[in-house]
């Protein structure tokens, strides 16, 4: 039976495998080739094999440390915020109240739009001359002068994070909501009978049962935050003073601004390796969670 069905199995998988193989095996090979040769767009005929020179360039690059720091700072703000926002929103949406249905639909809207829209809209709202955020804060008397949010390195990172949360938070919320809805309400009734308060119920029932979902969302959001590009492109262009030059922006700049494909490819490899390591780490944690 197994042998007979193998034919069918392979055939049904063939188209998918063809596409995936073409677009994963070849790119890795080609990226490797690029990273081992000198490839500078303005010097198209000079492509000697340079071994690990490009990797060394990328690692010793003046930019690497600062972009790693920027990315780390951004992720430290963005990932927890997304998780917390998602959890709070999911808890809220799980309750039945007037308008819950509208909110459940509305919450999906920011995620449904391209990330660039989030960047554009928030850049507009944070503008130092006519941004509505400044306008509101000014009229409420909280500030005396319009603040150029995106002109100051620290505030620019915050602005980026806010746009990120606006867009990614809803997805986390939906995931958590789905997770919450798989928890049987009987558990809560039983806890209430036992005299446990809401907070205790949350800690003892909700959180443990939600853990697998939390890990999945955490993995996903970490990767998304680490490879943020769209927002940087439209909101800050990496500035000011490279404060928002995240690692993926740096890789982009290597190719398009510095026209060095070799180093760009090497850098991309390094990023991929690091992310892979992070993911494997997370997966290990997930597996140990599942075993529990």
């Amino acid at each position: 039976m197994a042998g007979r069905e193998s034919g069918y199995a392979y055939l049904t998988l063939l188209p998918v495998l063809l596409i995936m193989a073409a677009f994963s095996l070849y790119p890795i090979g080609y990226a490797l080739y690029l990273s081992l040769h000198r490839e500078v767009l303005t010097d198209p005929l000079n492509n000697p094999y340079v071994g690990f020179q490009n990797f060394s360039n990328a690692l010793h690059s003046y930019y690497l440390t600062s972009s790693l720091v920027s990315t780390a700072a951004f992720m430290a703000m963005a990932v927890p915020s997304v998780m917390i926002f998602g959890l709070l929103a999911a808890l809220l949406l799980n309750e039945a109240f007037a308008g819950a249905r509208i909110l459940r639909v509305a919450i999906l809207l920011p995620w449904a739009m391209p990330a660039v829209v989030s960047g554009i809209v928030w850049r507009w709202m944070l503008n130092g001359d006519y941004g509505i955020l400044n306008s509101a804060l000014f009229q409420l008397g909280i500030i005396h002068d319009y603040i150029p949010w995106l002109s100051q390195p620290a505030l620019a990172r915050v602005g980026l994070a806010v746009a990120h949360v606006w867009r990614e938070g809803p997805l986390a919320a939906i995931f958590f909501l789905a997770g919450l809805q798989t928890i049987s309400p009987d558990l809560y009734s039983a806890a209430a009978v036992d005299g446990a308060g809401r907070v205790a119920a949350f800690r003892r029932i909700t959180m443990p049962l939600l853990r697998p979902t939390i890990v999945i969302v955490l993995i996903y959001e970490t990767i998304v935050a680490a490879t943020t590009f769209d927002l940087v492109y439209v909101m800050t262009g990496g500035g000011p003073a490279d404060a928002t030059s995240l690692i993926s922006w740096y890789a982009y700049a290597e190719v398009f601004k510095f026209l060095d494909l070799g180093t760009g490819a090497a850098l991309a490899f390094l990023i991929a390796l690091v992310l892979l390591a992070v993911i494997i780490l997370y997966l290990r944690v997930l597996r140990s969670e599942e075993r529990r």
Binding site: I19, Y26, P27, M113, P114, V121, Y130, F175
Partner: protein, 279 residues
């Protein structure tokens, strides 16, 4: 919460009806005091908004790129729809195989498929560019469709596999005894049962393709295939484009995803619950 989520969207809508001068007032006007549809007019007909001439700028603050927004919407929709349909078709086919069949190399292939998703986009950007270019598919629908398929298929297959596993197997076993082939099983019995899951998977595939930016930026050069995020970001980061124009473009861009999200919201949540309930 509602303000935070919906506020920006509504503000954009609001702004698109304000003229350039009004947009620059401090503090901002919450409601347009001199509403105008001049900017929408420009995008669809090319008539330069009068407000720009009055403001005293010597140069016209327009960019022709804004007029490409409707065409970009069309490109995005076609590409995303194709990706979604192919995803559902090929994905369901493959997912059923993973869900119900035993064969040699099953977990290897499955892990390979999932593993490809671990590569961050920026790492494969140049090689993807090289492949698409070598195939002569730069600036074409097919190039983007193929690339987006490689991004979306793994998730679709994983998701549908879990979904199909959650379906009761009795009906299939009964039909098998009756002599149905695997393919017939899939087409006649499983797919109808899995319809909500298929809708959810298709919706995810549609949205992720529609919203994709980096590869659309790299692999397309002219409006014959440039998608919405690319045109939009180009207009929005152009300091020579007036703010009112940008707001209008953003509003137009928001419409399809909004409609789509509202329509498919139920499937998405239900699908997620189903998938997560197993894991």
């Amino acid at each position: 919460m509602l303000v935070f989520i919906l506020g920006p969207i509504l503000w954009m809508l609001d702004s698109s009806f304000q003229g350039e001068t009004e947009l620059l007032t401090r503090p901002s006007h919450l409601l347009p005091q001199q509403p105008t549809i001049a900017n929408f007019n420009y995008i669809f007909t090319g008539a330069v908004p009068q407000g720009l001439n009055v403001r005293g700028t010597l140069r016209s603050r327009i960019s022709q790129e804004a007029r490409e927004v409707p065409a970009a919407l069309e490109n995005s929709a076609i590409i995303a729809l194709t990706v979604a349909l192919v995803n559902v078709a090929l994905g369901a086919l493959a997912a059923y195989t993973f869900a119900r069949l035993k064969f040699r190399g099953k977990s290897l292939v499955f892990n390979f498929l999932l593993g490809t998703r671990l590569l961050p986009a920026i790492a494969v950007a140049i090689p993807y560019y090289a492949i698409v270019s070598a195939l002569g598919l730069l600036d074409s629908y097919l190039g983007l469709i193929l690339v987006y398929l490689t991004f979306s298929l793994p998730f679709t297959i994983w998701f549908l596999r879990d979904y199909i596993i959650s379906l009761p197997i009795d009906i299939e076993e009964a039909a098998q005894i009756d002599g149905c082939s695997r393919l017939q099983l899939l087409l006649r019995i499983v797919l109808p049962l899995a319809a909500p899951g298929l809708a959810a998977a298709g919706a995810f595939a549609f949205m992720s393709s529609y919203n994709e930016f980096l590869f659309a930026l790299l692999l397309t050069q002219t409006i014959s295939s440039q998608t919405l995020p690319v045109i939009l970001s180009s207009v929005a980061t152009n300091p020579d484009a007036s703010l009112a124009l940008i707001a209008t473009s953003v509003v137009l861009a928001m419409v399809p995803p909004l409609l789509f999200a509202i329509a498919f919201q139920r499937f998405l949540t239900r699908g997620l619950v189903a998938a997560l309930g197993k894991g």
